[in-house]
């Protein structure tokens, strides 16, 4: 009999069986362990199987503002923003009789406390569409870039979101000509709604649709106001990994603006077709197309990883001279002109333009003529950043900090005043036999659990 009782004895016996039957991940080698703590100037591991992988590099360990940080082009714009601010953080900015220490600008970017973010996109033309939209996101507690950079800091939760966008075909290609869709959405704990108006589908799509589709389109010409209050909590509507149509639609809109493919991600809950190599699949089994392509991809990834690591160090205040020089070189490569001017009492503007991009590349059309402006107010810090003259339509992307979302935007009343009757989506789902409550789901042990809310998976 076990010293600790029969139950413990049984547990001990079962664990011995388990130990014989279960295979643990291999113990890391000494070389692996050494690689974990490589100096930041050394690249992170580059795997041949990652060459050409569709997913963008994962952002640093925070998901706040994920709509922005998941978009590679916007991440690049953000990186330029941060690089500009950080570079000038180490030089004095002479301005008349008063010099602003650039380190002040850098500190303000990092430490300024705000409640929310606002992004506005105006006439962003790419991939055959013209995109106009804005997002205002308010969190339940103030945050700063310093806290965003601290993985152990408590994550502020979204308190209110307003998003609106309109996407129209620019007539440049058949796939998008005729498209005209408008979406607005207000999401708070008290009220969740979305307004959708589909004024036109692409002509190419309309050719092949069943006859009832134009009839349905007519119904939506004045717009549909969807009452989303019957659905799950704000967090799951906003940003759950699975079928989140609102954030997926907004994300796709930003993807369009950023010039990415318009192919919607697979909305199903089945396996990701681009799954990474599993434990039992050696990366070398996924042979690259050619050694040159693989090398080029590896070099590019290594360079990107170095820049990302350098920016991370700059924002965290741990960068040394070498890192600053690396970012400065990148900035010089990126922008032909960089200047700082005082525009009014206690307000300065940092501007960068003549970005150097390959003339034949997609970036040239999008950002080649762009002008980056960062506005800094003494006592307030960085107040806004804008990328102007973007894309063929000379669009604008403006980013700023906010401390509240306009309540008139968050309210659905303006649509009701126009005679649009809200549709209770939750009620419809219930009426047709569905459930909006996850607790009704009975997990089947023989099935996988992809459709469960897995945010607290550990």
């Amino acid at each position: 009999m076990s010293t600790y009782g029969d139950k413990d004895e049984m547990l001990d016996r079962n664990l011995r069986q388990i130990g014989r039957a279960l295979e643990l991940p291999p113990t890391p080698t000494a070389a692996q362990r050494a690689a974990w703590t490589l100096p930041p100037s050394r690249p992170l591991s580059i795997r041949p199987s990652d060459a050409g992988e569709a997913d963008p590099p994962a952002p640093h360990a925070k998901s706040k503002g994920k709509w922005l940080m998941q978009r590679p082009r916007m991440l690049a714009a953000g990186a330029v923003l941060a690089a500009c601010a950080a570079l000038f953080a180490f030089f004095l900015l002479p301005s008349g009789n008063q010099a602003i220490a650039a380190s002040t600008i850098f500190r303000s970017l990092r430490e300024a406390v705000h409640r929310g973010l606002a992004v506005e996109l105006v006439d962003i033309q790419a991939e055959g569409v013209i995109f106009n939209g804005r997002v205002q996101l308010l969190f339940d507690q103030p945050f700063s870039l310093a806290s965003l950079d601290d993985p152990a800091a408590a994550e502020p939760e979204p308190q209110a979101v307003y998003a609106e966008f309109r996407v129209r075909g620019d007539g440049s290609n058949d796939e998008t000509a005729g498209l005209d869709v408008e979406v607005s959405a207000g999401l708070t704990e008290q009220d969740k709604w979305a307004f959708v108006r589909l004024s036109g589908l692409p002509n190419e799509v309309m050719k092949d649709v069943p006859p009832f589709v134009p009839f349905l389109l007519n119904m939506t010409r004045n717009g549909l106001l969807l009452d989303l209050n019957g659905l799950e909590e704000l967090e799951s509507v906003l940003g759950d990994d699975e079928a989140d149509e609102v954030s997926a639609a907004v994300s796709e809109a930003f993807a369009l603006a950023a010039g990415e493919s318009t192919a919607r991600p697979d909305a199903g809950v089945s396996a990701d077709s681009a799954a990474p190599a599993g434990v039992d699949q050696h990366p070398s089994a996924a042979a690259p197309a050619s050694a040159d392509q693989d090398q080029a991809a590896s070099d590019e990834q290594r360079r990107a990883a170095e820049i990302e690591a350098a920016l991370h160090e700059i924002l965290s205040g741990t960068a040394g001279a070498e890192r600053i020089a690396l970012v400065a070189r990148e900035l010089e490569q990126l922008a032909g002109k960089v200047a700082v001017n005082q525009v009014s009492h206690r307000v300065w503007e940092l501007s960068a333009s003549e970005f150097r991009v390959d003339a034949d590349s997609d970036e040239a059309a999008f950002i080649g003529r762009a002008k980056l402006t960062i506005r800094y107010a003494q006592g307030s810090g960085i107040v806004s950043a804008e990328l102007a003259e973007v894309g063929p339509a000379n669009g604008r992307i403006r980013f700023g900090f906010i401390d509240e979302v306009d309540p008139t935007l968050l309210s659905r009343q303006r649509f009701i005043d126009r005679g649009i009757v809200p549709i209770d989506v939750g009620g419809l789902i219930t009426m047709f036999g569905g459930s909006t409550d996850d607790s009704d789901d009975k997990p089947d042990p023989s099935q996988t659990k992809r459709d469960k809310d897995d945010d607290d998976d550990d």
């Binding site: 279960l22 993985p151 990701d272």
Partner: protein
């Protein structure tokens, strides 16, 4: 404790680490804990991603985070802090990818609680241990445990080391090994029973 012995995977008693706010030793305390818990943290990532290289990448990110933060964390709480950071890193990774692959194990509270009860009630049949869901829950629970308990359970049940061998490795008596193993077994069972 030297770095070399920490790197050898010897279970680390965080209570022995110098105070983190001792300026002359602060960096080495974090490094000591990171080294000592490295295998357990890597296992944590490896089980939850199914990808050794991704686990290595996440360990590098974890190290970057450890270097940049944790300055005010008491040495006895460093492992707990690292685990919280690791959890956040993993969460952010899946959010960035928007979806996790099907082969990645997911917590199943019902199965885990049932397993916790059955582990002490009767001997599990071999075909049950062959079920992927059962193995997943066991691995998830095991890798949630603190490094010291993990290494002890792995040494005893997976590497089939005797109590004498474990005692020699840890520098404690066999009786102490038995006591620690008992507590580690209970911790594993409690971890299974508390999956949410």
């Amino acid at each position: 404790m030297s770095l070399s012995s920490a790197a050898a995977g010897v279970p680390f008693d965080a209570g022995d680490a110098p105070a983190i706010d001792d300026a002359s030793t602060a960096p080495s305390a974090m490094q000591l804990v990171f080294e000592a818990c490295g295998a357990a943290l890597h296992r944590y990532f490896a089980v939850r991603t199914g990808d050794m290289h991704l686990a290595d990448d996440l360990m590098q990110q974890l190290w970057l985070a450890a270097r940049g933060g944790g300055g005010a964390i008491p040495a006895t709480r460093l492992e707990f802090w690292l685990r919280a950071v690791a959890k956040n890193l993993l969460r952010s990774h899946w959010r960035a990818r928007r979806r996790r692959p099907e082969h990645v194990p997911m917590p199943d509270p019902e199965l885990a609680v049932e397993l916790a009860g059955r582990l002490v009630a009767h001997e599990l049949p071999a075909d049950e241990l062959a079920r992927r869901e059962v193995r997943d829950q066991l691995l998830l629970a095991l890798t949630e445990l603190p490094a010291a308990e993990q290494e002890l359970l792995i040494g005893c049940y997976f590497e089939q080391r005797s109590h004498a061998e474990l005692a020699g490795r840890l520098g404690i008596s066999e009786r102490a090994v038995e006591g620690r193993l008992y507590r580690a077994r209970q911790a594993l069972r409690e971890q299974l029973a508390s999956v949410a």
